[in-house]
Symmetry: C2
Subunit: 278 residues, 2 copies
């Protein structure tokens, strides 16, 4: 692991780090904020998965999480959204497929399957790297994300509720199998068999029996993607049908941007911190 | 004035606006955050002047001011740092002169004098536009800024303490006449007569008798520009020699970036709000 940059901020250290990933077969970059802490102290951690077109940098610059993470003593880790580099196949004309659009899955179809392994990267490789290099208590992890990253957070937590004590999302894609973004990406990454899509679809996972005790979602009512791509009501209906409590909040007048995410970031960090310290 | 973008954020509205400026003779863009407020209510306002290479967007994206402005009910206005456009003379190879480097002065030398009129733009034209279009109480203004913008804030407030109730700065250029950035820009914008530079130099203004009762400066000790360009100690010495109280805080380990600015932004907004509401 190499240090790309470290800047003191809000009493802690905002870092950007790079490493050669065995899962993606590429160099990968990620951001970590470590609050001020006592020597030897291990801190709980929050994963933040970003949305389409983003890298680690969008939330690092616009997410306004550091004050809250410093207040609550929570490490925040922000990975990239796909493999990168000239060797990685891409769909350069498409913002919603290929680079910047890894959908947090392991692709099984050529030519994507070689490098597009973001699920294994997030679930297996990067946690080991974090545990080795940062003062993170890996027994206390939670996860959040925005849009495609909200999809990534919800599906990761529903598949492994024992690992993630709590999961939240900002304007998540709750049922990618049913909307254009997912219906475009899943056949190419995973093939046409829709049964293979279900473990990458929060609503389908709940229908299939997955459960999580701590789910928080904020969704802006003025989000231009709400009606066609995000469909928060499908998550609310799935949770209700499953008898699973979840807090899904419609926020009047907010859109899909980081102006929205940053508004509710401090509340999400505090909500996770309460559960990480319970 | 035209609306470029408006996004709901932290309960208020973050807007970006454009207009044809009579002072610069160009189209100009600026950002305004208006917190939630009662119908008809006028709010105090804080100017934020940005540093070299910046536009209105840097602080809007990375400054983390909206939560504090919403809490205290303060409007924040962030102008651009120079005229823009193909007709504007520039020094394209130089990040510290020309576009993005207006130094908040009215240039008197050709070819700069036609468009580089940021002092009159900030002091005369833009306030009228703000008063006309936003719920701002123009009797309650304060000003802050970063680096070159800290220079702009300090000099504007020292020249007109009646207009600006308080002034703060993040890593300001306190004595441009004495450092490379100013010694490069001032001769080209203002000519070789150093007497003409003094009203654009906070330390010189204080030496010449200017005073302000409410000055707050934060400066990182790990700022790579501190020793050669910023020289916070010169401001401290000038204030002491003048018998003028000022709070100048050295912040251990912080650099010149927005990771530093955002750390102390909430404190600055609260400090201004206290004075704007006194």
């Amino acid at each position: 692991m190499e240090t790309v940059a470290e800047n003191r901020s809000h009493g802690g250290m905002q870092g950007v780090y790079g490493h050669a990933s065995r899962e993606t077969g590429t160099d990968m970059t990620f951001a970590v904020f470590v609050p001020e802490h006592a020597p030897g102290e291990k801190l709980p951690m929050l994963w933040y998965l970003s949305g389409l077109t983003c890298t680690h940098a969008n939330v690092m610059e616009k997410g306004e999480y550091r004050a809250a993470c410093a207040e609550h003593g929570v490490i925040l880790v922000a990975p990239d959204t796909s493999p990168r580099g000239d060797d990685v196949p891409d769909a350069a004309e498409e913002y919603d497929f290929g680079k910047g659009a890894g959908f947090y899955l392991d692709a099984t179809r050529e030519p994507w399957s070689k490098h597009y392994r973001m699920r294994s990267y997030i679930e297996a490789e990067l946690p080991d790297l974090i545990a080795e290099h940062f003062p993170a208590d890996m027994e206390r992890q939670s996860i959040t994300g925005h849009s495609m990253g909200g999809h990534g957070a919800l599906t990761a937590a529903l598949r492994d509720p024992a690992r993630f004590r709590s999961v939240s999302a900002f304007s998540p894609i709750v049922a990618p199998s049913l909307v254009p973004w997912g219906q475009k990406a899943f056949p190419r990454y995973l093939g046409e068999d829709r049964d293979k899509w279900r473990e990458h679809d929060a609503v389908a996972l709940i229908e299939d029996g997955a459960r999580h005790d701590h789910i928080l979602v904020d969704q802006g009512t003025a989000d231009i993607f709400l009606g066609e791509q995000l469909k928060a009501h499908l998550l609310a209906e799935a949770c209700e049908a499953a008898g699973m409590p979840a807090t899904i909040q419609m926020q009047e007048g907010y859109d899909h941007s980081y102006f929205f995410v940053s508004t509710f970031m401090a509340e999400h960090v505090a909500w996770h911190a309460e559960r990480l310290k319970a």
